[in-house]
């Protein structure tokens, strides 16, 4: 799965340079991981991969890597 274009948009969502947006990028209050950012993430996931995930599923993610695995898992099922 090609995550590059998605990750590029995530970098701009979190207002960080693309090279900082790795799988290890943490999702917590320090990185503005609030309701509106979660909603933006849900919209981007639907745009790029046509997956619809619940807010609850996303809230359990603690890093960008978790989000990528959630996308892969949702695509499989």
């Amino acid at each position: 799965m090609d995550f590059e274009p998605f990750l590029k948009e995530l970098a701009s969502l979190f207002s960080v340079p693309p090279e900082e947006l790795t799988e290890n990028f943490g999702l917590d209050p320090n990185t503005n991981w609030d309701s509106l950012t979660i909603i933006s993430m849900m919209a981007l996931m639907d745009d790029h991969f046509e997956v619809e995930v619940s807010g609850e599923q996303l809230r359990r993610c603690v890093s960008v890597g978790d989000v990528l695995r959630l996308i892969e898992l949702s695509k499989e099922t």
Binding site: S35, L36, A43, D47, V53, S54
Partner: protein, 346 residues
């Protein structure tokens, strides 16, 4: 053979004069600047009711604009539907107070109903039922809400989105050979109730000292059980799951394709939500109403206010078939097809 059909014949809205701009919000939030707030929400200002300014007051001001404009007079109205989630009292019904304050006839039916973002669509369905069964001839549907009274000052996420407002819509019996209002598709899923709720203040959790206690629910965000709680991501998830099916369901019921619809007025939730739905459903941007900038999400009045603005701008013209789509608190949703007359009556 023409028969009596219900038709929207006028819409006027009213918002409080007190504004909250993005600079003020940004100063209290600290993380987002004014520009970012605008980018995410599509809102420049939300209107906020004063302490002594209730939904009834906003609704009455909207209705008076109809009377002042000569759209109808108080004596013409034989039914009043008032949609709000912020009534003046538990009892009596706010509709009864409005009947008196607007000087409507005493042989006029009046009732409140409690719905939010889907309320206008449901109100149209009730109006159609009353008019086309001969129970009413000219009906006033007032939607009005003052959600901002429920919001904790520190709860930035909801303060950024919600604004107070009201709309008054006249629905009249007319003799035409097409269907000006309808068909409809409805839906309800009460499992979504906890996702957008004011827990305290009703009979289930009466107001006590305990319900007024505030706690820090997220860093810097405080809330008591008397405040509005909205789980934005879950509401968005519900929207993604529900709205495309709702739109397709109504198209099927109408025997229409997406391209046959001249204009779409969705509940004005936020720019992020509307942009996403518009692109996801491949609705052309020029056929899609966006009316958040100067009022925010006004709950039950969002659809009629957007309708009024689209008519004023000329985005909706004579003979247009317009799809209305309401969705949110409840969860409750509904969609309606409406058709405007060939001759301009608005």
């Amino acid at each position: 053979m023409p028969r009596i059909r219900a038709q929207i014949t006028a819409i006027k809205s009213h918002v409080p004069d007190l504004e909250i701009g993005n600079e003020v919000l940004a100063a209290s939030h600290g993380k987002w600047d004014a520009e970012t707030i605008y980018e995410k929400t599509g809102i420049s200002v939300r209107r906020v009711s004063r302490d002594n300014e209730c939904a009834s007051d906003l609704g009455i001001a909207a209705a008076k604009k109809l009377f002042d404009n000569g759209d109808c007079s108080p004596g013409d109205i034989d039914f009043l539907l008032f949609c709000t989630q912020t009534p003046d009292y538990f009892l009596p019904a706010t509709a009864c107070l409005i009947q008196d304050r607007l000087g409507l006839r005493q042989n006029c039916g009046a009732l409140d109903f409690n719905l939010g973002c889907s309320g206008f669509v449901y109100g149209l369905a009730l109006a159609k039922g009353l008019i086309e069964t001969g129970s009413a001839t000219k009906l006033l549907l007032i939607t009005a809400d003052t959600y901002t009274k429920f919001l904790h000052p520190s709860d930035f996420g909801v303060r950024a989105v919600f604004g107070d407002g009201a709309a008054a819509t006249v629905i009249s019996g007319t003799n035409v050979d097409y269907e000006p209002i309808g068909p409809f598709v409805f839906g309800t899923d009460g499992t979504g109730a906890p996702q957008l709720i004011v827990p305290a203040g009703g009979m289930r959790m009466p107001p006590t000292q305990d319900t007024a206690k505030e706690s820090e629910v997220e860093p810097g965000v405080f809330r008591s059980a008397r405040n509005l709680y909205m789980n934005g991501p879950e509401i968005f998830y519900f929207t993604l799951k529900t709205v495309p099916n709702l739109v397709n369901g109504l198209l099927t019921k109408c025997g229409m394709k997406l391209d046959d619809v001249d204009y779409f007025v969705f509940h004005q939730a936020s720019r992020l939500v509307l942009d996403h739905l518009q692109k996801k459903m491949k609705i052309p941007e020029e056929k899609f109403s966006m009316n958040l900038e100067s009022c925010g999400n006004t709950v039950s009045s969002a659809i009629p206010m957007a309708l009024e603005a689209s008519l004023k701008k000329g985005s909706i013209r004579q003979g247009f078939k317009v799809m209305l789509v309401g969705f949110g608190v409840g969860y409750s949703w509904g969609a309606a097809m409406i058709q405007f007359p060939e001759k301009d009556i608005l």
